[in-house]
């Protein structure tokens, strides 16, 4: 069951403001391919502007990708999301739901919680009004909110509660895939933990698959099965969580880990500082996008873009680096 692939993304590319031929503009997602299994959590990490949100929204078909295929396996069979009209998409949408970063902005402040949670049911005209109400209440209770919340307005709830409403809302139509776009980064730690636990429990209970966008490696470490590292819209590394954190294959992954505040052996270690800043996504692309900041970059890196391929040392990991096979990045004591 768990190995059943429900999502398969191949060569996803999106340029904002591209011309008709799909050229020019801002390359936000560049040839991204990955798959997702049932009840699996795939995290997407990367710095701001690296295209995490964009990938999520492409899958939810909120953005039209310029190229690539998104295959979704639902109960009804296999569909290619990229080539569906809005009307065709509608039934599929029930199975793919989204959870947004800012619980404030993702709930219409003029609607009551009950209506907000019921909205997907109303849109798809599922069940009678009474059934809908029952479902809403039971879901709200499931995410830890009382039935009385139904009549409240978003501004009358705290941030954590609002995010729970968002979760309940996403779950009303029994989705199979939940795209979570930084669902906890606006929350305080104590609330964040509540929401993370909730997401985990729901996954087990309902067999959900998550695409989990985050820039907090701590959270990613906690929640994911696999992790995709993104840099300027390009996949740097795609590996299981354990592999990634134990032995990163890509220098950028290493750099991210090093920049994380963390404690080892009861002590906070000094973080390693990655020099330079993420370049603008409009930059002229030649060679590896990370070459400018990479301590291991060579002429080759400047010249030629590496392709994503299985890592020699651990074929379960894919990496886009010319030197991945040669470098040993498993410990942080690399020269930077």
């Amino acid at each position: 069951m768990r190995d059943e692939q429900i999502l398969d993304v191949t060569d996803l590319t999106l340029r904002f403001g591209a011309d008709k031929s799909g050229q020019g503009g801002l390359l936000a997602v560049n040839n991204v391919s990955f798959g997702l299994n049932r009840q699996e959590t795939l995290s997407i990490v990367g710095e701001s502007g690296s295209g995490k949100t964009t990938i999520g929204r492409c899958i939810a078909r909120l953005y039209e990708p310029n190229a690539g295929q998104i295959t979704f396996r639902s109960e009804g069979g296999e569909v290619d999301l990229t080539h569906m009209s809005k009307a065709e998409l509608r039934p599929i949408r029930q199975q793919i739901q989204m959870l947004f970063q800012d619980p404030n902005a993702s709930l219409n402040s003029r609607m009551r919680i009950g209506d907000l949670v019921a909205e997907p049911l109303n849109i798809h005209r599922i069940g009678t009004p009474a059934e809908r109400r029952d479902r809403v209440v039971s879901l709200l209770e499931r995410v830890g909110l009382g039935a009385d919340t139904v009549n409240r307005y978003p501004h009358q709830l705290s941030g954590g509660q609002r995010q729970r409403v968002g979760i309940a809302r996403a779950l009303t139509v029994s989705p199979r895939l939940l795209i979570c776009d930084e669902p906890v980064s606006a929350l305080d730690v104590s609330v964040q933990a509540q929401v993370l636990n909730l997401l985990r429990d729901l996954q087990d209970e309902m067999g959900l698959s998550y695409i989990f966008v985050s820039h907090d490696l701590g959270v990613v470490d906690y929640i994911s099965d696999r992790v995709m590292v993104l840099y300027l819209g390009t996949i740097m590394e795609l590996a299981t969580r354990d592999d990634l954190f134990a032995a990163p294959a890509h220098p950028y992954t290493r750099a991210l880990l090093d920049a994380m505040p963390s404690r080892r052996d009861g002590r906070h270690r000094k973080r390693k500082v990655l020099t330079g800043e993420i370049a603008g996504p409009t930059l002229k692309r030649q060679g590896c996008v990370f070459a400018g900041r990479c301590p291991h970059a060579t002429d080759l890196c400047q010249r030629e873009a590496p392709v994503l391929r299985p890592w020699a040392r651990n074929p379960a990991t894919s990496v886009a680096c010319h030197h991945a096979d040669a470098l040993d990045l498993s410990t942080e004591e690399t020269t930077i």
Partner: protein, 382 residues
């Protein structure tokens, strides 16, 4: 060992500080919040009341006005406001009364001079019968809020005009044009502006581009001259009702651009907001998103903009009528009434002819205050 630190000042927290009341506050719905915020703005509330009164008076103009709009007595040409008295030389009465006036032409100035006939009292009665009129164009009635029983004397709270008509009655009737021009004009404006703005914001592309250019162009035309130009082109032989409609359309035609821009901006920002994305991700159709998300969120802004557009439109109509290219007699509007006062000698000799200006001013001011109050109210969270 269990000494407490003694630096807690005496002013510090006594016990629970009425958390309950605060709790209630938190539970208010958006609408309640807005309502509260609105009520807190006293000028806006007052303005709303004034406007309600004015509109009521307009709807029931026939009832409120003691005389029909054309009912005049030439002998009372430019007779001043009738003083309402409770007392005179002959004593006092609980029922207010007026004295009839006699007019005589001065041999020097050739103007009429008015002398009150102190001997005669004409009492004012409420719910009197008088000129007949139609309520909302349907029911015929001749009941008036107040009036005199004899036709020898006339009551004119705000004086008489040149033809000896009661200015107050005319102002009340004039409100039917002046007050509705704003509302109807703005209604059309809202429809045009909101629809075009929302479409142009939602779909973007060439349509948006064209609409934006068009709006930009319309907006570089100074509005009053363009109004003037367009209303001057209204065929003079149209019946007054059509002319009125024409004026409304002209005013609305030029006014929608501001709203369209605003709505477009709002749509643009709303459509990127996560909750719209969320609805879209749930499979909501465009219509659904418009209905459930965009419009409710824009509505209050639209209302505010519309409210603030009403006074502009009212002023526009007044200016046009004042200049003689607005509504035409026998229709009455405040601007038209005011154009009768646009003569220095009229202001000098018959200053009450300026009363229509006071009504324009009060209405416009009230709408401005109301709009202001509504603007504050739109963002109940700020």
């Amino acid at each position: 060992m269990t000494d407490t630190v003694s630096n807690t000042p005496a002013t510090a927290a006594p016990a629970a500080e009425a958390p309950l009341a605060e709790h209630n506050y938190q539970l208010l719905s958006v609408r309640q919040l807005m309502w509260r915020k609105f009520l807190a703005n006293r000028l806006a509330v007052l303005s709303a009341l004034v406007l309600i009164l004015l509109y009521l008076a307009t709807i029931f103009a026939g009832f409120v006005a003691p005389y029909g709009p054309q009912n005049g007595k030439s002998r009372l040409s430019y007779a001043p406001p009738t003083p309402i008295q409770f007392c005179d030389d002959a004593g006092c009465s609980l029922r207010p009364f007026v004295h009839p006036v006699k007019a005589e032409r001065s041999p020097v100035t050739f103007l009429l001079e008015f002398v009150a006939d102190e001997e005669v009292r004409e009492y004012i009665y409420f719910f009197e019968r008088g000129d007949s009129y139609k309520v909302l164009g349907l029911v015929t009635s001749d009941l008036h809020l107040f009036g005199l029983r004899s036709d020898d004397a006339r009551i004119a709270l705000l004086g008489h005009d040149q033809r000896g008509r009661d200015l107050f009655s005319r102002i009340v009737y004039g409100g039917q044009v002046s007050l509705t021009v704003g509302l109807i004009g703005v209604l059309i404006m809202v429809m045009l502006g909101a629809v075009i703005g929302a479409l142009s914001g939602y779909y973007g592309g060439w349509f948006d581009n064209f609409v934006q250019r068009f709006i930009e162009t319309l907006r570089v035309f100074p509005e009053i001259p363009l109004w003037m130009a367009l209303s001057a082109a209204i065929p003079p032989l149209w019946p007054p009702e059509w002319v009125y409609a024409g004026i409304v359309v002209v005013l609305a035609f030029l006014g929608w651009t501001g709203l369209a821009r605003e709505v477009r901006g709002l749509t643009l920002s709303l459509k990127k907001r996560d909750f719209v994305m969320a609805a879209e991700a749930s499979g909501a159709s465009t219509g659904w998103i418009m209905r459930k998300h965009l419009i409710p969120n824009m509505l209050s802004h639209i209302i505010v903009t519309a409210t603030l557009a009403v006074p502009v439109t009212i002023l526009g109509e007044s200016a046009l009528s004042f200049l003689g290219i607005g509504v035409r007699p026998p229709m009455i509007s405040w601007g038209l009434l005011l154009s009768d006062a646009f003569k220095v000698q009229v202001i000098a000799l018959y200053p009450w002819m300026l009363f229509p200006a006071a009504f324009i001013f009060i209405t416009v001011l009230a709408f401005n205050f109301l709009g202001d109050g509504l603007r504050d109210m739109v963002d109940p969270f700020s």
